[in-house]
Symmetry: C2
Subunit: 639 residues, 2 copies
C-alpha cells in the first residue's frame, strides 16, 4: 500500500471503486490519473486490464498529457465485467536522458553519464527477446563507436527509447491501491430509439394482440425505432380493478391497469390471454428481431391481490398486526389494487431467487431489455444482487430504471447496476435548466455511471409544455433524440396527443385504464420528423455515443445550441433549436472552434441533416434564423 | 458490502480512506455523510469511533441535518490514531410514527397502526435495561389506557421516542464500506507562533551559543512566540564549504551553511561545538519549556562529504559508474558540498531505521517538533513509513514539511503524514490571489489533511513585496498571524530587514553563510505589533483553530477583509487590512451576518484588539478607514 509513486484522482472511479464504471463493447474506454513522485525523475505508467475471471493482464503504456496527468484507453471486446488497474515506476532511462541533455547543453562533460545510461541499455538488452533483441544488438554495436552527437541522436530515437523503456528495470514500482471494475454493455444499452405501446391498443376493435402488433410493425419500423417497449403483458388483477381515468371501481369490460399484475390465470410467467399466447409473443420477438427491432419488457414487482403468490407465498408480503396482507400505501394515499412485495423479510432469498427466475424465464423467450417499474421502492441491495447475478450469466441483458425520485436515489440505482435510467428531462423545458441538467449528466462522475433515457412522454407524464402543441412536440423530439443516445416516445406522441386530465400531468382517458384505437394518419402528425430524427441518429457516431456535449453561447436565448461530438472529434453535430413555438427567432451562434480542434478563422461546411441544406460558415459567430411552422431546428454536421 | 442503505460522500475522507484525516486533541471532530435508502422509511445513523488498537467502539447518534445529510462529532481525548465508521438502519419506530401522524391528520382510523407500533415498543422494552426499563414500564402502562390524542403525544415525546429508538431492532442494518482513520495531534500541531533563528547569531561577538540563547529567551518570550525553531545545530562540513553570499569557496573563519551536515567530529547525533554541548542543548530545551516555549529542530537528510556516514555507509549514497559518490545535482546546477542519501537502494531498511533513530535520539532530548528540510526530494513511501513509525510510538511528536514544490506533491506529503506544511503564502500578496489560495486551503478535502504554516520570511525567501518597507511588514504579519493558526517569522523580520542580493529572493549577506549580530532595538522595528498579534492569538479560539474562514466583500479592493470563527460561532474575529502601504483607504465592509447566525439588522459591538477601540456597527455594511503609518489593519472581535 505504501509506494513511492502517488497515483491519484483516477477517473473513471465510482465511489472509490465500490461500483463498476460503465463502458460500451468495442468502444474506447479512457482512463486518466494524476501520477507523480518526489524529486525530478520522470515516470512510466501503464494501464492494465483484463476480463473479470481471467488471470492475464494486458498492459497499455499511458501517455503523459500534461503536468501529472496520464491517460490511456482500451477497448472491451465483449460484454460483461472487466477489471483495470494502474502501475507506475521510475523511468530510469528517460530521467537520465533528460539529465544528459541538460548537462550537454550547459557545456558539461557527459562521458560519465553516457557510461551510466549504457548500463541501463545493457540491462534492457539482456531482458529483451526476438526482434527487439536483434534490433538492440545492432544499435548497441553502433552506439559504442559513435561520437557524442551520434549517441545523443540514438538515445533520443523513438523506436530505440521505447524498446529500452519496455525492458528497463521497474524501479520504485508502485501499484494503484484499488482494482477497479467496469461493465461493458451491448450497443443497445448505450444507443437506442424506443417506442412504448400497449399491445391491447394495437387492434382495430376490442383488445389488440401480439398478432396485431406483428401486422403493424412496419409503422414503427418506418419511424426507424429499434426498440419496442411493451407495457406489462401479464394477466390483470380483478380485485379493486380501476376503471376509466383511474376510477376506484371498474365497469364491466374495463381492462384494468396492466401494472396490477396477476389473476387466477397466472402471474409473472403468464401472458394475458386477451393479447394472445406465449407462442404469439415468441413470434413477435422473432419477427421484430428480423426487422432489427428488439422487444423491451416491463418488469413491475408488485402484485394484484389475485396474483398466485398471494395464495402460494403470503409470507412474501407485508402484514398487519392481525395477519392480513397490507395493500400499497403512501399516506394519505391507498392503492387497494396493489400488494407490494416485502424484499427485506427475514428469509428473503427464496423471494429474491424467484424474482431472478422471472427475468431468466423471459430471457429464455428472447428478451434482452427490461424496463423496471419503480425500482426506487425496492431495496438497493436487492437490485445490486439481482442485476449482478443476471449480468454475470447474461452480459447482453440490460436494465432501464423507471425511478422518478430524488437525484441521490436515481443515481444510486445506476451505481447499483441499472444500465440506463429515466431522467428529469420531461420537466426540464427552459433554456438554462436544460443546460444545467445536461452539463451535470455529461460530467464525471455522473457521466461514468448514469445513462439518461430521454422519454418525451410516458403514460404517466404529459408535460405541461406540450399544451403548446405541434411545434413544442417537435422541439421536445429534437432535444430528446440529440441530447442522449437513448431516447423514446410513448405511442401517440407522434400524433401530438395532448388532452389532459384537469390540471394534472395525466392524460385524459389514460391508456392505462382503457383500450385506444388511434388514427395514425391524423393530420398534423410529426411522423416524418421522428423518422428523420431516428434515421439521422442511426448514421451519426456523434449522436450514438455519449461522449461529447458542449453547449454554445447564442446572442438570443430563445435559441438553444449545442454540439455533440465523438472522442477524436472526427464527427461533430451542431443542434440549434428555436425554443419559441410561435415567433421567428434569429441570432448568432458561437461555435467553440478551439475546443473542436479547429482554427479560429476556419471556413467550414455545415450540412443540415433535417433538410439537406448546405451552408458555408466562417469563424466563431454564425447567423441562424428559425421559423416556427417551417423550421424549428437545425441538426447540422460540421465538416 | 451490498447493503440496503446507501452511505456516501463521507467527509472527512482523504483519498477514499487511504490516508488519515487530521484532528486535534480535545476538539470536536465533525463527520458528515449522505445517507439514504429506497422507499419512504426514515433512517437512524450512528458515528462509531475508537482509539486505534482498542476493541470497543463508541457510538454517537447522527443528526439528520437536511435531506440526506447526517452529521455528528466526537472529541479525541488523546493524541494518536483513531478509527471511525458509520452505521445506519431503518428507523422503524420513526417511520411508523410518521405514517400514523399522516393517516390521523387525513382522518383515517389508526387503531390498527397503533397496534403495530405497540409491538415495536414492547420489543424495545424487552431489550431495555436499568433506568430505561423502569421508565418504559411506567410509560407503557400509561399508554395502554390512554385515548388516541394521549397516545400520539407520548409517541412524539422526545425522551420516550429516543429510548425506544435506542433499543429497537436494527432492521436493514448497513455499514459504511470503509473504516476511516484520523490522527489526533497535540495543540502545537495546530496552533503555534514560531520564531526561527541561527543559534550562532545569538551572541554579541563570534559564534553565539545555546547559553547565549538561554540568556536571550526573554526577547522571544516577550514577543509571545511559543516555538523557537533552530536551524541545524550539527557539525558543519568543511569540504567545498560555501563562503559569504554562497561563494563557491569559503574564506578562513567562514562558518559554512548549517545545512551541510556532518564533519569528522560527528553528524546527526552531534552538536556543533561552536554552539555548546549536548548538555547546553538540554538546558535550552528545559529552560525554554519553563517559559512555555518549545524548541523545534531542523532535520535535513543530506550529508556533507565529511559526514561519518560517507565512511561508514558509502552504500547509502548515489554512485557514479566508476564507484565514486555523486554530489547533489539538479542540472545544470551542482552542489559539491552536499551528498544526497539514496533512500531507494535495494537494502534500504538499515538506512531507513538509522533515520528513525535520529528522530528518536532527539525526542529523547525533549524535542517534539521537527521541521523537515526538503522532504519533496526524498521518497514519499519513506515519509509515510517513518512518520507512522514515530507517531505510533510518540503521538505527541509533530512534523513540519519544508517543501516548496508543485501543489500535488506538497499536498501529498501532508497526506503521507506531515502534521503541517510550509505554503505559497510568501508569494501570495494580491487581494484576489490571497482569497483564492486561502479558500482552497480552507475547503475540503485540503482542509482535512493540510495545515499551512505561514512564514513571513525564511533565510531563503525575502519576498519582493517586502521592499515596500515597514507597513508591508505589518501587513504580512497581520495576514500570516490571522489566516492560519500556524505562523512564524525568521529572525530579523521584526526589524524589517529587507536588504536583498541583487534581484533575487535571497538576503544580502545571508545568515546561511555568516554570523549576524543584530541590534534588536533598531528604530522602526515592529516588535510591539508582533507581540500584540501573538497575544491576541493566544486568547482567541477563532484564531487558534483552523475552522472557519469567510472572506468579506468590500467596496474598495485595497481593503482585504475576512472573518475567522469557531465551529459554534461563539467567537468571531473580523480582520480588515489596508493592502496599500502609502495611502489612506476607506470603504464599506459587508459582514455576512446571516452566515454568522446574526440578524440582518443587528446592532453589534466590535472591539479592535490591536488598540482596544470599541465601535457600534449596524447591519451588513459598515464603514472602515485605515491610515498607513497610524493604523494598517483592524483585528476586531464581533460580539
Amino acid at each position: 500500500m505504501n509506494y513511492p509513486i502517488a497515483i491519484e484522482n483516477v477517473c473513471p472511479e465510482i465511489d472509490c471503486g465500490r461500483f463498476p464504471a460503465k463502458a460500451e463493447i468495442n468502444s474506447k474506454f479512457y482512463v486518466n490519473a494524476e501520477i507523480f513522485k518526489s524529486g525530478h525523475d520522470i515516470i512510466y505508467a501503464v494501464l492494465k486490464y483484463r476480463k473479470k475471471g481471467k488471470r492475464k493482464w494486458n498492459a497499455i503504456p499511458m501517455e503523459n498529457k500534461s503536468d501529472d496527468i496520464f491517460k490511456a484507453f482500451f477497448i472491451p471486446e465483449s460484454t460483461g465485467y472487466y477489471e483495470y488497474i494502474i502501475e507506475a515506476w521510475k523511468d530510469s532511462y528517460g530521467s537520465m536522458l533528460n539529465d544528459i541533455i541538460a548537462w550537454h547543453s550547459a557545456g558539461e562533460d557527459i562521458s560519465e553519464d553516457l557510461n551510466s545510461i549504457h548500463n541501463i541499455i545493457k540491462y534492457a538488452y539482456s531482458k529483451s527477446i526476438n526482434e527487439d533483441k536483434k534490433y538492440l544488438k545492432e544499435s548497441i554495436k553502433k552506439f559504442t563507436s559513435m561520437d557524442i552527437e551520434g549517441k545523443l541522436a540514438l538515445l533520443n530515437d523513438i523506436k530505440f527509447s521505447s524498446i529500452i523503456k519496455k525492458y528497463q528495470k521497474k524501479e520504485e514500482k508502485s501499484i494503484y491501491c484499488k482494482k477497479l471494475e467496469l461493465i461493458s454493455d451491448p450497443e443497445y444499452g448505450i444507443y437506442a430509439s424506443w417506442y412504448e405501446l400497449f399491445t391491447r391498443s394495437q387492434g382495430n376493435n376490442g383488445s389488440g394482440t401480439f398478432r396485431d402488433l406483428i401486422l403493424g410493425l412496419d409503422y414503427i419500423k418506418n419511424m426507424n425505432f429499434n426498440v419496442i417497449y411493451l407495457t406489462p403483458v401479464h394477466p390483470v388483477g380483478t380485485t379493486a380493478r380501476r376503471g376509466k381515468n383511474g376510477a376506484k371501481t371498474a365497469l364491466p369490460g374495463d381492462p384494468g391497469s396492466p401494472w396490477a399484475i396477476g389473476n387466477e390465470s397466472g402471474g409473472y410467467y403468464s401472458i394475458n390471454s386477451d393479447l394472445g399466447t406465449i407462442d404469439d409473443f415468441d413470434e413477435l420477438v422473432k419477427t421484430a428481431g428480423l426487422s432489427g427491432i428488439k422487444i423491451a419488457m416491463d418488469i413491475a414487482f408488485q402484485c394484484s391481490p389475485d396474483h398466485p403468490y398471494v395464495r402460494e407465498h403470503p409470507e412474501w408480503f407485508y402484514h398487519r398486526s392481525d395477519g392480513t396482507i397490507r395493500y400499497a400505501e403512501n399516506p394519505p394515499k391507498k392503492y387497494y389494487d396493489i400488494y407490494p412485495l416485502n424484499f427485506e423479510i427475514k428469509n428473503k432469498m427464496p423471494l429474491w431467487h424467484e424474482m431472478k427466475n422471472i427475468f431468466i424465464f423471459w430471457i429464455s423467450h428472447g428478451i434482452k431489455i427490461f424496463r423496471v417499474d419503480n425500482p426506487h421502492t425496492k431495496p438497493l441491495d436487492f437490485w445490486e444482487w439481482i442485476i449482478k447475478e443476471i449480468k454475470t450469466e447474461y452480459p447482453d441483458v440490460v436494465f432501464l430504471a423507471e425511478a422518478f425520485t430524488k437525484p441521490n436515489l436515481m443515481f444510486e440505482l445506476s451505481k447499483r447496476g441499472f444500465t440506463m435510467s429515466y431522467s428529469y428531462f420531461t420537466w426540464r423545458t427552459g433554456h438554462d435548466e436544460l443546460i444545467e441538467y445536461f452539463n451535470e449528466l455529461n460530467s464525471p462522475p455522473v457521466k461514468n455511471f448514469f445513462r439518461p433515457m430521454l422519454f418525451t412522454n410516458t403514460p404517466d407524464i404529459l408535460g405541461k409544455d406540450l399544451d403548446l402543441g405541434r411545434n413544442e412536440f417537435i422541439i421536445r423530439a429534437v432535444l430528446a433524440s440529440t441530447l442522449s443516445p437513448l431516447w423514446g416516445i410513448y405511442s401517440g406522441f407522434e400524433l401530438c396527443e395532448n388532452e389532459r386530465l384537469g390540471n394534472t400531468e395525466e392524460y385524459l382517458n389514460s391508456e392505462k385504464y382503457e383500450i385506444k384505437h388511434r388514427d395514425f394518419n391524423k393530420k398534423g402528425n410529426i411522423i416524418d420528423i421522428i423518422s428523420r430524427l431516428n434515421y439521422i441518429r442511426s448514421y451519426s457516431n456523434a449522436l450514438k455515443k455519449a461522449e461529447g456535449l458542449l453547449f454554445c453561447e447564442t446572442t438570443n436565448n430563445k435559441l438553444l445550441a449545442y454540439i455533440r461530438f465523438n472522442d477524436d472529434l472526427s464527427e461533430k453535430v451542431l443542434v440549434v433549436i428555436n425554443m419559441d413555438t410561435e415567433n421567428i427567432q434569429s441570432g448568432h451562434v458561437r461555435i467553440p472552434l478551439k475546443e473542436l480542434g479547429m482554427d479560429e478563422n476556419s471556413i467550414f461546411d455545415v450540412n443540415d441533416l433535417l433538410n439537406n441544406n448546405k451552408y458555408k460558415w466562417t469563424g466563431m459567430y454564425n447567423f441562424v434564423m428559425l421559423i416556427p411552422g417551417r423550421r424549428q431546428a437545425h441538426i447540422m454536421v460540421i465538416k
